[in-house]
Symmetry: C2
Subunit: 197 residues, 2 copies
């Protein structure tokens, strides 16, 4: 670490993705003028973070407890959303639309980068489906090449079990204007148009 | 603090200016996957920051020592740049063009917000000019209404001492295209046009 405390703090904050020299400098000088204790409170939350976060042995989500809160609170056990990362759990929870359980894969399949099925939490997923409680698996991986491929791979494994397999719908973002919509999303919105009833 | 370590860390990082819920979440999950010790190293730099930073009793800059490095290293004692903030010292140092001393005001005059001359480091500035070493004071406050007003106020105080008073030049940013230049900067660039020799 740099011996100058300001440069040292700037260099540490620059390690964060998306924070460059100028942003880090702005944050450090903000801290120097912030109410007493601010830097210490932020530091305490960061230093305790890694040790206190656990991976849930059931769903694979990251939180302060194992099993996690989402696995222990009453929810719809018949519906299971499979996601790539803990951030995706947060995103779906924010939508307020999902009341089922989660299963976090911690990644996607990527043969080119050497990530095969064994690098993901696929075996624990199949084990969870074995007791027959789950009636629908929502494959909520990202709509990217790797996310789609992973969903396809999982669908082939899950279909024989006799569980319904679904995927998130594509279409126009809410509030978006057609004029500015990206072509693939608009194409999907047309393909999957719904009856107004 | 929130009992959940992830939410707790997100809430702490959200306190930084310009970092919202989504950015803070991204940073926290990045920390959880970063090499061991990363969060601890960042936390250590932040927690030690405020206590180890001192205001230089001579120039008012913030650093790990008093007097600061810029006041003790050999530089041009005849030239003194007056700036609003420690960040401005960094910016001028980055330009590589200045070899004089600095004086940090820690703000600007702003009668509307109740910031009068006594709230700035103006008295120490006049004391520094008293020994006759400084031949030129560069008023490097920002080219804003408040920065300009502060420079004007200081110029009136300093002129009677018989020291040359200068201001940073205005003009086109280097690399800028005329087509996209803001009108006031282009106007100044025209007013202050130079002979090509």
């Amino acid at each position: 670490m740099n011996r100058d405390p300001i440069r040292g703090a700037v260099q540490q904050l620059r390690r964060f993705p998306g924070i460059g020299e100028k942003s880090a400098t702005r944050l450090v000088y903000w801290l120097l003028r912030a109410p007493p204790g601010t830097a210490g409170e932020i530091a305490t939350a960061l230093s305790g973070l890694v040790d206190s976060v656990k991976e849930c042995s059931r769903c694979g989500d990251l939180s302060g407890s194992d099993p996690c809160q989402l696995c222990t609170q009453p929810r719809n056990d018949a519906l299971l959303a499979v996601v790539e990362s803990p951030q995706d759990v947060l995103a779906i929870e924010r939508s307020g639309e999902f009341r089922g359980r989660y299963h976090v894969l911690h990644g996607t399949l990527s043969p080119l980068e050497g990530r095969g099925p064994d690098s993901l939490r696929i075996k624990p997923l199949l084990e969870r489906l074995r007791d027959g409680q789950v009636r629908e698996v929502l494959l909520a991986t990202n709509p990217t090449v790797e996310g789609d491929a992973t969903a396809l791979y999982l669908a082939r494994l899950i279909h024989p079990i006799g569980v319904r397999v679904t995927r998130l719908a594509h279409g126009l973002p809410v509030g978006a204007e057609l004029e500015y919509a990206d072509a693939p999303s608009l194409a999907r919105a047309l393909q999957f148009r719904r009856d107004l009833t």
